[in-house]
Amino acid sequence: MIETIIFLIVSFLGIFLASFWIQVIFFVDNTVKLDRTYLPTVTLLVPAFNEEEGIANTLDSLLLLDYPKEKLTVIVIDNGSTDRTVDIVKGYKGVKLLHEPKKGKACALNKGIRESITELTGCVDADSIVSRESLRNQVGLFVSFDVGAVISVIKIRQPKNLLEKVQHYEYILTAFVRKLMSTINTLYVTPGVLTVYRTKVLKQVGGFDENNNLTEDLEIALNLRYHHYKVLIQSESITYTNPPRTFWAFWRQRVRWFRGLIHNSIKYRKMFFNSDYGLLGSFQLPLIAVTQFVLIISFLTIAYHIFDFLYTKIHSLVLLKEGIFNLLSLPSLTEIIYRLNPLVLIPVLVSLIMGVYLMHKAHQHIKESWSYVPVLVFYFFLLPFLTALHWFWAIVLELTGARRRW
């Protein structure tokens, strides 16, 4: 009974949200003006700590950007690398190298911000690649003075294994949802993979949080929103990132993200249920808390039932011994019909159809063709389960005061 109620709450939330976003696609036209002739001076900051593997590719893509060279400055801030990162950077003539001894990505970025004298400042992770036209497209959205930051669409670079392919779908849908959030002005993330900020605003809000913040990019976004600046996404600005390739790397990344989200949500709790922040305060931010709570409760219930089911089945099989083969018969059609529960089945089917539709629109949005379709099964049925586990562990670590580290 209790699991059915939880299941219904999850389905209800799923249908409500999917229906909300689908209607936003059709009924909200809040197109932000784009000025393609606006080409201000830009500094791109690349914080680096032992990035010898990928930094050359990142710098190559930055130097190939379709942007007036006299208006573009690229700065790498070395954060105490012990590998060949510094040597590699020194090989690039058009790149300025700074050193920040104080550990932490936020410290490195702040060093760069202090050096930045251009109108806009972009932050780029040292393992990312940007497309040629990305920066030009992003700066065109800074025509309005209340725009604090513009983010890009992030894609997974050449996904190979199952985990990367699942993330490939996740990033596509995330980009689309961010676009919709941007449309209704509730976007509150500025990822490290090429986000462009208004330099004056970055300095005004105090730069990145150096106080051991696990997700400094989320913190700065919330900080901008706290000061009533908009965060937008430019769908025509495509960037690429390398996702975690192993289960444990993925686990560490997600737990870090969620711990950062918990920490920063507490830090900016005044924005929750605050109508001064429009839909962001009254809908989007509270939704995070509600969905995560429901997700964790669902996970615990499902985990209990799976355990109970497996225990009963295994125990039965052990007791059956030679009688085991008598169980290998399929249920009759009548039995299947008897087991159907429309109250659960219909919401699940509807939310699944809506999910697939949103995924289809997401592919259209970033002009990405469908690939690795069988992986969708894992995306829809396994990833939420894993996400609940990540959340659960992140909460445990935050509650126990475990040390925050990357």
Binding site: N30, G323, L327, I337, Y338, N341
Partner: protein
């Protein structure tokens, strides 16, 4: 303007989500009606077959025109196998039905009462048959509960039933009357039946009249039931 549109969207999303759930509830009610009706029909068939058995027995004992005693017993035994299969099928349907019962379903409670009564009725007929024909149809009465190892025991009995085909199984929920509130779903006969066997725990099995408490694995149960006919 955009704020107003968004407010409308939020509201309509809420309405859509509610509508989907109402659709689910309505379809669920219709499907439950279908299941109830279907199960009642199946039970009615068992009732008819039981009645037919009684008449057949009466007919044989009254006229005994061409049957030897052995032939008569064979005919009646086949009746029991048939009844046993039908009850087994209904039992599976009811278990499937019960697993997805989310909310109160009075018809289902009445259905279960009807089923248990039919089982006991057929069991009594079988006891009479056994004494009359000195027959070796194996009977297995399974008292189950929601806690403990009843589910595992059910799986074992199912497997044995499929393997042998010569067992007449009836299943009864221990303390059934205490667990239902639906008017008309309780039956004093269930308590009487339970008291007769002095059932203390679940699972408890009555194999050919002998009581065994606790979980019994497949080989042991197979041995207890005796040689296959």
């Amino acid at each position: 303007m955009v704020e107003r549109t968004l407010r409308n969207i939020l509201l309509s999303s809420l309405v859509i989500a509610c509508l989907v759930f109402v659709a689910g509830i309505l379809l669920g009610i219709s499907l439950n009606d279908f299941k109830n009706q279907d199960a009642f029909d199946s039970l009615k068939l068992v009732d008819l077959n039981a009645e037919s058995y009684l008449i057949e027995r009466e007919f044989i004992s009254t006229y005994n025109v061409s049957y030897t005693e052995e032939q008569a017993c064979d005919t009646l035994r086949n009746r029991f196998y048939s009844l046993s299969d039908e009850l087994n099928e209904i039992r599976h349907l009811l278990v499937s039905f019960e697993k997805d019962q989310n909310f109160e379903n009075k018809e289902y409670d009445l259905l279960v009462r009807e089923y248990f009564l039919t089982e006991i009725q057929v069991y009594l007929l079988l006891e009479n048959f056994r004494s009359g024909c000195d027959d070796s149809i194996n009977t297995l009465v399974f008292f189950y509960g929601l806690e403990g190892n009843s589910e595992q025991q059910g799986v074992i009995i199912d497997a044995l039933f499929k393997e042998r085909g010569d067992i007449f199984v009836i299943t009864l929920k221990k303390d059934y009357n205490d667990g239902v509130d639906t008017l008309g779903a309780k039956d004093p006969l269930f308590d009487l039946f339970e008291d007769h066997f002095t059932i203390g725990q679940t699972p408890t099995l009555i194999v050919n009249g002998e009581k065994y408490e606790g979980l019994i694995n497949y080989p042991t149960l197979n041995e207890l039931v005796g040689e296959k006919i």
